[in-house]
């Protein structure tokens, strides 16, 4: 079981930390019949307690930083973080803005970056699948 169980059954929780909704719409687009991530066992869940992967969008505003940390802490191990979009990866157009504390990797550890403004659903799926590698590493580490 172990490693392969994450490969085919990833539950994803979406955290918007002040994004413009562009990336959020693309995440939802990945669920539509055209892309249908459920065929890979990827499911969007409503609570971080159920999640294996956190999809973080947005540049992390001052108000959201504490909440993002809390959501990260609420997610049970093993977990991975995927940043979706240019804002979360590099602060994007909000670079050095007064009310932004991001990018996301300044707040919580990040495993995969998916750049783009917004990234295409294919790229988001690719990012989530890459996060499996991290989960595998953690699962293997726990066994050793």
């Amino acid at each position: 079981m172990g490693l392969s169980s994450f490969k085919r059954a990833l539950w994803v929780f979406h955290v918007a930390t002040g994004s413009c909704n562009g990336c959020d719409i693309e995440i939802v687009a990945a669920l539509t019949p055209r892309y249908d991530v459920e065929r890979f066992g990827i499911k969007l869940v409503g609570s971080p307690r159920h999640a294996d992967v956190l999809l973080v969008t947005g540049p992390v505003t001052r108000m959201m930083a504490e909440r993002l940390k809390r959501v990260y802490a609420q997610t049970p191990d093993p977990k991975a973080v995927v940043v979706v979009g240019g804002c979360g990866s590099t602060s994007g157009v909000f670079y050095e803005s007064y009310n932004v504390v991001g990018p996301v990797d300044q707040v919580i550890p990040v495993d995969v970056y998916v750049p783009g403004c917004p990234p295409r659903p294919e790229a988001i799926i690719d990012g989530v699948v890459k996060a499996v590698a991290k989960l595998e590493r953690v699962a293997a580490g726990e066994k050793a």
């Binding site: 169980s5 019949p33 459920e38 065929r39 890979f40 609570s47 159920h50 191990d77």
Partner: protein
């Protein structure tokens, strides 16, 4: 019957129903995906999900009432599995026949919902508390039409004097459709319809998934559950789906296929069990899968009003038709 024999049979039914429940969950998801023009997850997806959940960390929140929070997933799973021991499986009578009847099955089917609500209250999350309150309100609204449907069947059966009417073995051995007149058939059809409406509510599936409502209350009752505990609720849900569909089959379509086809012995029994599983699947497909694809979520007040007024009125009408049928048929 010897104790060893009983344990052996019970274990077979429990493992079998667990597997069947998960396979049916996979079929449900696959068929729902196909109806939405998607490819959908593989059939073994529920097994993969369960395996993965068992790998995950199980968190007990600091604000939770620990023992209650931890006990409820086990109670839900145990009650779901126990309900199956009181239900007949095709040609085989209930394993625990003589120890409990149809009323006990109704109670056992209500226990997982209560366990989820209690677990939600114990988890210390306001979202779960809202979910728990919604679950209890729903429980109070759909239990009445469910009881009326059951009582209708049992009352008519009692009038036929074929044995202990509340026993599920008696109910499944005496299909009512051919034993009643045209009025009774009409009444039974109405009761079957009511029971099919109650089924998705009993299982908290769309359009009655208001206690879980991912988009408003983030998973509601389940919001704080993770890892092994979530896996237990997942399994309980799969098994309860089979139990509820099996109850509908037992009450209204307890027909076998082996006798009409003239197959006897072990082959006939295998055929009957397979046919029983097909019937359970058809009930699940009709009452859960198609409904959840076709509809959106109701509001809780709509559900309560609908079950207390319309569905109860329909169920009572069905019951009255059965009574009139008895008066006509004598």
């Amino acid at each position: 019957m010897s104790g060893v024999h009983l344990v052996w049979q019970a274990a077979a039914v429990m493992v079998g129903s667990g597997v069947v429940g998960l396979v049916y969950k996979g079929l449900d998801r696959k068929l729902a995906a196909r109806m939405q023009a998607r490819v959908g997850p593989p059939l073994r997806q529920p097994f993969l999900d369960l395996g993965k959940l068992l790998m995950k960390e199980t968190v007990v929140p600091r604000d939770a009432v620990g023992w209650l929070f931890s006990a409820m997933p086990f109670l839900a799973a145990v009650a779901s599995f126990t309900a199956l021991l009181y239900l007949p499986w095709g040609p085989f009578p209930p394993i625990l026949r003589g120890y409990g009847d149809a009323v006990l099955v109704l109670y056992l089917l209500a226990v997982p919902a209560l366990a989820m609500a209690l677990g939600g209250f114990a988890s210390g999350s306001p979202l779960a508390t809202v979910g728990g309150q919604r679950e209890i309100v729903m429980l109070m609204s759909y239990e009445f039409p469910l009881a009326v449907a059951l009582v209708g069947v049992v009352w008519r059966l009692r009038a036929l004097e074929v044995g202990p009417a509340f026993s599920l073995a008696t109910i499944s051995a005496n299909p009512l459709w051919t034993a009643v007149g045209p009025l009774g058939v009409f009444g039974l059809a109405i009761l079957l319809g009511c029971l099919l409406v109650v089924t998705p509510a009993e299982l908290s599936k769309i359009p009655f998934d208001i206690p879980e409502a991912e988009t408003e209350i983030a998973g509601g009752l389940m919001v704080e559950y993770s890892g092994t505990y979530l896996a237990l609720f997942y399994l309980a849900d799969a098994v309860k789906t089979v139990a509820m569909a099996a109850l509908v089959v037992t009450l209204f379509i307890p027909y076998g296929i082996a006798a009409p086809l003239g197959v006897k012995g072990v082959g006939g029994q295998v055929l009957d069990v397979a046919f029983f599983l097909v019937k359970v699947f058809v009930v699940m497909f009709a009452a859960v899968t198609t409904v959840r694809v076709a509809m959106a979520r109701f509001k809780v007040d709509q559900v309560v009003r609908g079950f207390w007024l319309q569905i109860t009125a329909a169920a009572v009408a069905g019951l009255v038709l059965l009574v009139l049928d008895k008066a006509v048929m004598g």
